[in-house]
């Protein structure tokens, strides 16, 4: 039941819309099957499979709206759901910011589905766990990791004839490897749409190498350092900042993108000239659905170009109020870089710190997007183009705005997932000047 074909899904959505007597109606049908395996202490700890399907019907009488959902799809159930949404809407207070449903849109399909990922079995997941654990056991290391994969569909239709259907797949693998005595820790993460490109056997070596190499970490004085952030380490900072590209907050004077005296910084040089960030739902490496949560079509668009802010995120309401065009909220970001790998960047660094991963990043001051967080699972001191020794983890207090004004060099972008972001990201490794560390951590 969890996955409907395009014809089935469209028929259910159309039926719901047709049944509605409200001024406007939209129906959204989504379903997914997700499998996972979790391991720790060199053993599988949990594994599971979860499936769910839902029809959500939103109706409006004027500016009064109601939403109801159901997971039974016979005619009587669908009708009950529609009537319930209508009853709710009649009782609801007016939402002054309600926007009418969209006219028919032209969505161009994006390549979000992979047959190989959709075909993964519990045995295949158990195999990934086994391939991660076995080499660690043999090397007297301890693995803890997680694999989650799934397939889903997203279908919708509204009373103005707009509709869509698309299937997606995804998988995310992460593994932390520690030495038996707990003095060393390394990590690897791979986020993919197509599992065919994944080999746990290969990936685990990165985490194992970092675990062994990070034993006997030395303490260094906190302060300002040149750092190389691996793409996974940069992801948490960059994605956090992009949460604050909302046009309304900027216009209201409560964002780092607000201008003194009023207005926002659209078109202004906010970052260093090397910074180019785009969103592109069709990017083959990082494809996302061609619509956002409001069904607004996503577009390929620059967000930051040569350091200038090119697009802010306008909700449909705020765009209409400000006379702007609403573009779908980005589902991915692609930051341009160079051709060098992280290892190449290390080779051309005189003195600096290599950061494998960042952790528990939180806002300290929204005025400057000052963020705090820590390094984790592989932090190394670089001297004369070589990794000299592991160093203890460090807490940073740094603004990504300041950080992206201090770029020394960017490497070759790769696809990464953030610990706490829903964005699909393609980011380069970055060598940055004057990155601010404020204290040492004894954590391994």
């Amino acid at each position: 039941m969890a996955l409907f074909t395009e014809a089935e899904a469209r028929a259910i959505c159309a039926k719901a819309v047709k049944m509605s007597k409200a001024d406007e109606c939209s129906a959204t049908l989504t379903g997914s099957i997700k499998g996972n395996v979790r391991f720790a202490r060199n053993d599988v700890s949990t594994a599971g499979l979860v499936e769910d399907t839902d029809l959500a019907v939103q109706v409006a009488f004027g500016k009064r709206t109601g939403v109801a959902t159901i997971n039974q799809f016979d005619d009587a159930s669908i009708e009950r759901c529609v009537r319930r949404a209508e009853d709710l809407a009649r009782l609801a207070p007016e939402n002054a910011e309600y926007m009418p449903v969209l006219d028919k849109q032209a969505y161009r399909a994006t390549p979000t589905f992979s047959a190989a990922t959709a075909a993964l079995t519990p045995e295949a997941r158990a195999q990934v766990a086994a391939q991660s654990i076995a080499p660690c056991r043999a090397a007297k290391l301890v693995a803890a990791g997680f694999l989650e994969d799934g397939q889903s569909f997203y279908a919708f239709a509204n009373s103005k004839g707009n509709s869509g259907y698309q299937r997606s797949t995804g998988m995310d693998y992460t593994c932390t490897v520690r030495t038996e005595d707990g003095r060393g820790s390394g990590w690897v993460g791979r986020n993919l749409q197509d599992s065919a490109a994944f080999s746990a056997d290969t990936e685990i070596r990165t985490a194992m190498r970092k675990a062994s190499a990070s034993v006997d970490a030395k303490a260094i004085e906190p302060g300002k350092y040149t750092v190389i952030l691996e793409p996974a380490a940069a992801a948490g900072l960059v994605s956090f900042m992009l949460n604050f590209f909302d046009a309304r907050s900027a216009d209201e004077g409560r964002s780092f993108l607000s201008k003194k005296g009023g207005g926002n910084k659209l078109g202004e040089q906010v970052f260093g000239p090397q910074v180019n960030i785009t969103s592109d739902p069709w990017d083959p490496q990082a494809a996302v659905l061609p619509w956002d949560d409001d069904y607004v079509p996503r577009e390929k668009m620059p967000i930051v170009q040569n350091g200038k802010v090119m697009n802010l995120d306008y909700s449909r309401f705020w765009a209409a109020k400000q006379g702007k065009k609403a573009i779908g909220t980005p589902g991915n970001i692609i930051m341009a870089g160079g051709t060098k790998s992280t290892a190449d960047l290390v080779r051309t660094t005189q003195r600096g710190i290599l950061v494998s991963r960042t952790w528990y990043i939180r806002m300290v001051d929204p005025q400057t997007v000052l963020l705090t967080g820590l390094t984790r699972d592989g932090t190394f001191y670089i001297e004369n183009g070589e990794i000299k020794y592991p160093i203890k983890n460090l807490r940073f207090n740094e603004s990504p705005v300041i950080m992206l004004n201090n770029i020394d060099e960017l490497g070759k972008p790769v696809r990464v997932a953030g610990d706490e972001s829903s964005l699909t990201m393609v980011l380069p490794p970055m060598r940055l000047r004057d990155f601010t560390f404020t204290s040492l951590s004894d954590a391994v």
Binding site: A40, T46, R84, L88, N95, E97, F146, T174, F317, A443
Partner: protein
């Protein structure tokens, strides 16, 4: 880690879709929030799963038939942005087969679908058993037959008309704007977990759990300078009904800074007016001079520090390495318990308690059918115990689980989550004013702000909502840009004492994230105002040029 995305998700609300994706569950009519799944259906489904799993080869099975209701009312200024009622109903089945765990869940409430999910769970367990080095060992827990429990609420939040909720929030917003706020966001998050648990141990446990949270933020801006500041509400999420929002005068405490804080009853409108004024004062408050200060921490602030630096490191799954890949491990390793590790000064006694009335974590049985209790974690400064569930108890040589198992949905596998973890009040009579009178050079902090701690819970940094400079025993002025950095054992060793129990209040974390896939849980932390000597304070002001 405390989730940061839930409130962020409410920042740009227009479509129901956004909220529905942030808060899983299907939307339902308000009236249905007061109904429940028929008890006989729950027992029948549970028996169908138990039977199917046993036939497929499971040696242990538990079944959770869950109906999770949530209502969110979200407003800004004079506008109701969204009202969402969600329901998520389904069955989660956990089995041991071949010595390994397997889990499967379905939202279809039929005997056949539940039996199929049970067989799927057994198949998953068997697939994993091949690579398992040692079989799962469950600490025994007695079957309790058919029992039920309910959060002792006075007013069921789900039964309060939506109009009353909207009127309350819009009244709060108008009060904040009237007091000088440029913007105000206010919300109600209401949760009712109807949980039915059955296991092969012979338990059929029906529980009805209620929680409430009323967050609010007042923001002021100074267009000329481009500066903006916010102050969040000083309420705590609670394991209570709508009576929490009655604003009972007896539950208010006026702090030495003149700011009112709240115990078991919250006056949201009063706090909104204060928030607007406090935020305005922040615009011109002087920036802190970095250095060492004696900190006087209000319970509404200290709760989060307890959560991060005591609650998490004493979760046994973290200590053992089960969370190494995401939430992290712990500095408080098992050898430290054996060595009677000095976690803090002798003023520090910290208890875990799953039974505390009004707390977010209070239940009669946990999500694997274990009766809940209260026990010491740190006694007079010494580490004495951890928090466990059934498959870990044997590692500590314990005969029973501590009852810390929880899943945030029928579709999530249950695992070890933090109990309410609280600092015991001082035994000698002392008020916050008397405590401040003894501080020469200090900062008084009220409300929680930014928070971050490393993956072994050593190095942490905390901000706050309101900061007041203390000079020679007196509060001199409101200050800004304060964050303190700490190393957990040094911080708790610097604890110079707590006010008495008349000052004891609960802080709460409504969305505490842990696990992969990440799950949220809600947990309370009680304390009285407490003093810590010689803590490192940094200045967080920066310039973007």
């Amino acid at each position: 880690m405390l989730r940061r995305d839930f409130l962020a998700a409410t920042g740009k609300v227009g479509a129901a879709g956004l909220l529905l994706s942030a808060f899983p569950g299907r939307a339902i009519a308000e009236q249905e929030l007061q109904s429940a799944v028929d008890a006989s259906l729950k027992k029948r489904l549970a028996d169908a799963a138990l039977g199917a799993a046993r036939s497929a080869g499971a040696t242990y099975t538990d079944v959770r038939v869950g109906r999770y209701l949530r209502q969110f009312v979200i407003t800004r200024e004079a506008n109701v942005q969204n009202i969402v009622n969600t329901e998520s109903t389904g069955v989660g089945i956990r089995v041991i087969a071949g010595g390994a765990w397997g889990f499967a869940a379905t939202n279809a409430l039929t005997d056949d679908a539940v039996a199929a999910a049970a067989r799927q769970a057994v198949a998953i367990a068997k697939a994993n058993a091949k690579n398992q080095s040692a079989p799962v060992q469950l600490a025994p827990t007695p079957g309790v037959g058919e029992v039920s429990w309910k959060t002792p609420i006075v007013k069921n939040s789900m039964a309060v008309p939506i109009k009353d909720k909207v009127d309350l929030l819009l009244g709060v917003n108008a009060a904040a704007i009237g007091a000088g706020a440029n913007f105000v966001n206010s919300m109600l998050f209401l949760v009712n977990e109807q949980k039915y648990f059955a296991s092969t141990d012979g338990s059929y446990i029906d529980q009805d759990v209620h929680r409430i949270w009323a967050p609010m933020t007042a923001t002021v801006i100074d267009k000329a300078t481009g500066k903006f500041r916010s102050r969040e509400g000083l309420s705590a999420p609670m394991g209570m009904g709508f009576e929490y929002l009655d604003g009972a005068p007896a539950e208010k405490t006026v702090t030495p800074a003149g700011v009112t804080t709240y115990k078991r009853s919250y006056d949201m409108k009063e706090d909104a007016i204060a928030a607007a004024k406090n935020a305005r004062a922040k615009l011109t408050a002087p920036s802190v001079k970095p250095g060492k200060y004696d900190l006087v921490l209000d319970p509404n602030h200290l709760g989060l520090t307890i959560h991060e630096s005591v609650g998490h490191p004493l979760e046994l799954d973290r200590v053992l390495g089960y969370e190494a890949n995401y939430a992290g491990t712990s500095f408080a390793t098992l050898d430290k318990q054996k060595a009677a590790y000095q976690y803090g000064s002798d003023k520090v006694t910290i208890v875990a308690d799953k039974t505390q009335p009004g707390s977010l974590g209070a239940v009669a049985y946990d999500d694997e059918g274990v009766k809940t209790k209260k026990w010491d974690l740190i006694k007079d400064g010494t580490l004495v115990d951890y928090q466990t569930i059934r498959d870990q108890a044997h590692i500590l040589g314990k005969k029973e689980s501590d009852g810390c198992c929880y899943a945030d949905s029928w579709s999530s596998v249950q695992f070890q989550r933090m109990a309410n973890v609280s600092l015991q009040p001082g035994k000698a009579k002392m008020s916050p004013a008397q405590m401040i009178a003894g501080v020469e050079n200090g900062i008084y902090i009220i409300g929680d702000g930014s928070f971050s701690i490393d993956q072994q819970r050593y190095n942490a940094q905390f901000g706050g909502q309101l900061f007041y400079e203390i000079k020679n025993g007196k509060i001199t002025q409101q200050i800004e840009d304060v964050a303190y950095q700490m190393r957990t054992p040094e911080f708790w060793s610097a604890c110079a004492g707590s006010c008495d129990e008349s000052d004891y209040r609960l802080f709460g974390s409504f969305f505490d994230g842990k696990g992969q896939p990440s799950q949220v849980s809600a947990v309370s932390h009680g304390s009285s105002t407490t003093r810590f000597n010689g803590i490192n304070v940094i200045n967080t002001a920066r310039s973007l040029g």
